[in-house]
């Protein structure tokens, strides 16, 4: 290829896109050096997950004109990560993923700053997440996606006509892979469907009926799950099974083999045992690279407007040839998470404790162990113990007073929701309206969620 004769510049290739006007771009696109500098200086991006997608995302974003990146991941590096998580080496096994990934990218791409956070996503305050321009998700769990989605949606405010306020929209870009398949999507809370609006895209994992495991096993996984879910507890009363303990895994494997022999079933292997017990999702470098690249490109487009954005869900399948499909999903206007918030009508006398109790019974919420914040102020926190003690005295006070005697406002509640027998951390936005306060009309109540 020919060589450029202009002044050598690190951003030569990216400049073509950021400095030149185009026709197939976002209406907000303002090409120029100012845009390039702003991306570097003011745009802050959080990458959630430093695994197969996260490693790729950090590299891709660092080479797409962004300089302020942060990454959060609670995991440590394992040997089985090394076939795709290219920022990690054998000698890194056991170290926190977020820290090693951040360090490696900073070593190679000068000028980029990456702040690692080695912790659970639930450990961070809401304000932490609000600081970012865009949140990019490289996760393998539905629960974690759902949590971050709720966090991003919690910042969303609606105006009096129930239209989302532009400046409160926290864009998310989400990727996921399994073997040769994957997805990439753009979520603009309040505008495009949020993760919860289309939760049906992620059907829950099918579990074997216990009676099949106990009475009529037919396949190797039946034998493995019998050993794992039934036999373990029978033999090791009270001792929890640890999937990361090779001795535990070997015990399950041996028991599964015995059971398979007893019933004349073939095909129990150690590798299959691990796969079934840990629910291992096969993963390869190429698919992660493809999906991460699509996510990074969309992040660049959202931040700069330099091209149209993905609208709004891409599925990728490389098993037979290559199929890429873009689907424009529509949002669920009654969504509990990205909608204007569940409306709760209260008497001014209701105490914070009573309010928390109500949430547990609420037919849409079923929210237990609730912690409550209002305008960033902690009204009651279940944890850590220091905060719990500090806020405990609020429980006996009326919520109306704690909220500064406003007729209505939004509160954020985090806790545990139990639905269909599964429990998970969640965050909900609630629109609290106090009865018999001037300024509240029936109209306001009518549009409740």
């Amino acid at each position: 290829m020919s060589h450029s004769t202009v002044q050598p510049s690190r951003s030569r290739d990216l400049d073509k896109l950021l400095l030149r006007p185009g026709n197939l771009v976002a209406p907000t696109f303002e090409p120029g050096t100012q845009l390039r500098d702003d991306l570097q200086e003011y745009v802050r991006i959080l990458v959630v997950g430093a695994g197969g997608l996260g490693c790729e995302l950090l590299k891709d974003l660092a080479l797409s004109g962004f300089k302020n990146l942060e990454v959060i991941d609670m995991d440590r590096i394992e040997v089985s990560n090394l076939n795709r998580q290219f920022l990690f080496r054998l000698e890194d096994v056991g170290k926190p993923k977020a820290e090693v990934a951040a360090k490696r990218v900073m070593e190679r791409v000068s000028g980029v700053n990456i702040v690692p956070h080695f912790c659970r996503i639930e450990d961070k305050e809401l304000d932490f997440y609000n600081d970012f321009s865009i949140i990019v998700l490289g996760l393998d769990s539905i629960e974690a996606r759902s949590y971050i989605n709720a966090v991003a949606c919690s910042f969303l405010e609606y105006d009096s006509d129930d239209n989302p306020r532009e400046e409160t929209i926290k864009p998310m870009v989400d990727g996921g892979t399994e073997g040769f398949k994957g997805h990439a999507r753009v979520i603009m809370p309040g505008v495009t469907p949020c993760f919860e609006c289309t939760i049906w895209l992620f059907p829950p994992q099918v579990k074997f009926p216990l009676c099949t495991l106990a009475e009529t096993p037919r396949t190797p996984p039946h034998c493995i799950e019998y050993a794992h879910l039934i036999k373990w507890d029978e033999v090791h009363s009270g001792k929890d099974f640890d999937p990361d303990d090779p001795e535990h895994m070997t015990w399950v494997y041996t028991e599964a083999v015995k059971r398979a022999e007893l019933f004349g079933i073939q095909g129990v292997t150690y590798s299959l045992t691990q796969g079934v017990v840990k629910n291992i999702i096969p993963a390869i470098a190429s698919t992660n690279a493809i999906i991460s690249a699509a996510c990074a490109l969309e992040t660049l487009k959202i931040a700069s407007g330099c091209s149209k954005t993905l609208s709004n869900y891409l599925t990728y399948n490389g098993v037979e040839g290559l199929h890429i499909k873009v689907t424009e999903f529509v949002k669920d206007k009654d969504c509990l998470v990205c909608g204007p918030g569940v409306l709760i009508e209260l008497d001014t006398s209701v105490t914070l404790q009573k309010f928390i109790d109500m949430l547990e019974e609420h037919p849409k919420l079923f929210l237990s162990k609730a912690s409550v914040t209002h305008l960033g102020k902690n009204l009651y926190m279940q944890a850590p113990p220091v905060l719990e003690e500090m806020t405990r005295s609020n429980l006996s006070l009326p919520l109306f007073e704690l909220m500064g005697k406003v007729p209505k406002d939004v509160v954020h509640v985090t806790g545990i929701t139990s639905q269909n027998d599964s429990k998970r951390s969640c965050l909900r936005k609630l629109r609290v309206v106090f009865k018999a306060i001037d300024g509240v009309t029936d109209m306001d109540m009518a549009g409740g969620a």
Binding site: M1, S2, S4, T5, P8, S9, R10, R12, D13, K16, L17, R20, G22, N23, L24, E56, K59, D60, L63, S64, V79, S80, L82, N83, R84, F86, L90, V93, E107, V109, A184, T216, R218, F263, G264, I265, I280, P282, A283, I284, A285, S286, T287, N288, A289, I290, S292, A294, A296, L297, L300, S307, K308, G318, V319, E320, G321, L322, I324, V326
Partner: protein, 523 residues
């Protein structure tokens, strides 16, 4: 070094030890190690390919630091091939990595025999003239070839191999091979030993649906002149009969039978895809035929003889509600039939090998077994020479793509990606490569594209101004995210070609980074 089984665990679950062994034997050559090439190799080195050879004649420039992760500030001024190779080696010490500091174009011109040492060549960022030459060289030498190119927000990946045959295509969803519409004698007589009207409710709800359907189908045939349900009404009636067989509402096995009843209605015999493969002229084998075609010749004989119109039985059954005993016995019946079919094919393979003057044991049992198990899923992929596609593309396809809403942008990019190479042959730079010549370049590119289309027999320019403008705006830039995407696709195709599993792309993959409506174009 880490225990390879643990390190590669997540991919072994996809392509197995055999696929991994094939990768570890492969030697891959990369032409040009910009981001597109580097990212392609990165994914392959992580997966543990045997060896890589990086070929690039350029030195690292400051602008490379902005889009290539494999070079850093200390690399500026050094051989790009050397720097990229060093980084790749760091990723996996099991891979033999070497580099040659030479321009690929020069190698193609002066040393064509160089390429014959490799299993596969990945050629990135080449212009048309070099691509066409390399294509002929690799085709001649029987070396697999993949082209990849990133260009602004577009790019392409193209596989070029004379013929690629796949036994383990591992499709996502494929109908199981139960033969409920055509049961063999042993399956029928096993079904006869079971009483559907058994009084014990526990036994009743643990009769596998395969048995239920075989028996009900037989009963139906008796009263319908030997034929199975075929009209809508008949199918409905058949399902009603199944429903009537239930003694309790919670009988999962009967629900499964109703859901699976379409397997009874399905036409007998082999699929259209397989019919096409067995009628291929390659099934007339000679001493030079590949193992695949020898086995195919045996399969063809089997289908018309012992198979009675069917392929060998796959031999596995899906999980279904059943007592353990019945399920395991049923499994054995399917396995026994598959084993018997395999033995027939094996004998036929031996006979054919003898007839064409080759060692009758020249094809391993494992191979023939796998062939039989996957007989319904075989794939044959053939690729036109690039030169043929370029000078004589399928016109009806081309016209169709240009006017089809879903394909027109991808088709536009295909034309423009070729047009920019014509452009640079005439003007010594890519359109929009330098600032200040944009307006002139836009009109020149338009003229070039129209000229190209008319050479292909397509008159009038259906390309939009917007797309031509965008192409000039791209100015031959190689954006990292686009390169990572294209490199990801290229490496995935390498893996499919080397492991001989899954199905490689069938035409030219055109990446559309604007709205992601990327497409495969078969021209």
């Amino acid at each position: 070094m880490a225990e390879p089984k643990t390190k590669y665990d997540r991919q072994l679950r996809i392509w197995g030890e055999q696929g991994q062994a094939a990768l570890e034997k492969a030697s891959i050559c990369l032409l040009n190690c910009g981001p597109t090439g580097s990212e392609t190799l990165k994914n392959l080195v992580l997966g543990g390919v045997g060896s890589i050879t990086v070929i690039d004649g350029s030195k690292v420039e400051v602008s490379d630091l902005g889009n290539n992760f494999m070079v850093d500030e200390s690399s500026v001024g050094q051989s790009k091939a050397k720097c990229v190779c060093a980084f790749l080696q760091e990723l996996n010490d099991a891979v033999k990595a070497k580099f040659i500091e030479e321009h690929p174009e020069a190698l193609i011109e002066t040393n064509p025999s160089f390429f014959s040492q490799f299993t596969l060549v990945v050629a990135t960022q080449l212009v048309e003239d070099s691509m066409v030459k390399l294509d002929k060289i690799c085709r001649e030498a029987n070396v697999k070839l993949i082209f990849a190119r990133s260009y602004g927000l577009t790019g392409f990946v193209r596989v070029s191999v004379k013929e690629h045959t796949v036994i383990e295509s591992k499709p996502d969803h494929f109908l199981d091979d139960l033969r409920l519409n055509n049961p063999w004698p042993e399956l029928k007589s096993f079904a006869e030993t079971i009483d559907l009207n058994v009084a014990d409710p526990v036994a009743h709800k643990h009769t596998p649906y395969v048995i239920i359907l075989v028996k009900m189908a037989e009963e139906w045939a008796k009263t319908h002149g030997g034929s199975l349900p075929s009209t809508r009404d008949e199918k409905k009636q058949f399902k009603e009969l199944l429903k009537a067989g239930m003694v309790a509402t919670d009988e999962e096995n009967y629900k499964e039978a109703i859901e699976a009843s379409f397997k009874v209605f399905a036409p007998r015999g082999i699929s259209l895809d397989l019919q096409q493969i067995i009628s291929d002229s390659c099934t007339e084998v000679d001493s030079n035929s590949s193992q695949f075609w020898v086995m195919l010749a045996a399969l063809k004989e089997f289908i018309v003889n012992e198979g009675g119109g069917e392929a060998p039985l796959e031999g596995s059954i899906p999980d279904m509600t059943s007592s353990t005993e019945l399920y395991v016995n049923l499994q054995k019946i399917y396995q026994a039939k598959a084993e018997a079919d395999y033995l027939v094919i094996e004998q036929r393979v031996k006979n054919i090998l003898k007839k064409i003057g080759r060692d009758p044991d020249g094809i391993s049992k494992t191979m023939i077994k796998s062939f039989c198990k996957n007989a319904r899923k075989l794939k044959v992929c053939r690729y036109r020479l690039l030169e043929d596609e370029f000078s004589n593309p399928s016109l009806p396809q081309l016209q169709k793509y240009l006017t089809d809403e879903d394909y027109s942008v991808a088709m536009g990019f295909y034309i423009l990606l070729r047009a920019v190479d014509r452009f640079t042959a005439n003007y010594n730079s890519f359109p929009g490569q330098f600032d200040g010549e944009m307006d002139e370049d836009i009109s020149r590119l338009k003229t070039t594209a129209v000229g190209l289309l008319s050479d292909l027999g397509c008159n009038g320019s259906p390309l939009t101004e917007d797309l031509i403008n965008e192409m000039c705006r791209f100015g031959a830039s190689e954006l990292h995210a686009v390169a990572a995407f294209i490199g990801g696709v290229a490496s995935q195709e390498v893996i499919k070609l080397i492991t001989r599993q899954f199905v490689p792309i069938s035409g030219t993959f055109i990446f559309n980074g604007i709205d992601h409506k990327s497409q495969l174009l078969a021209l």
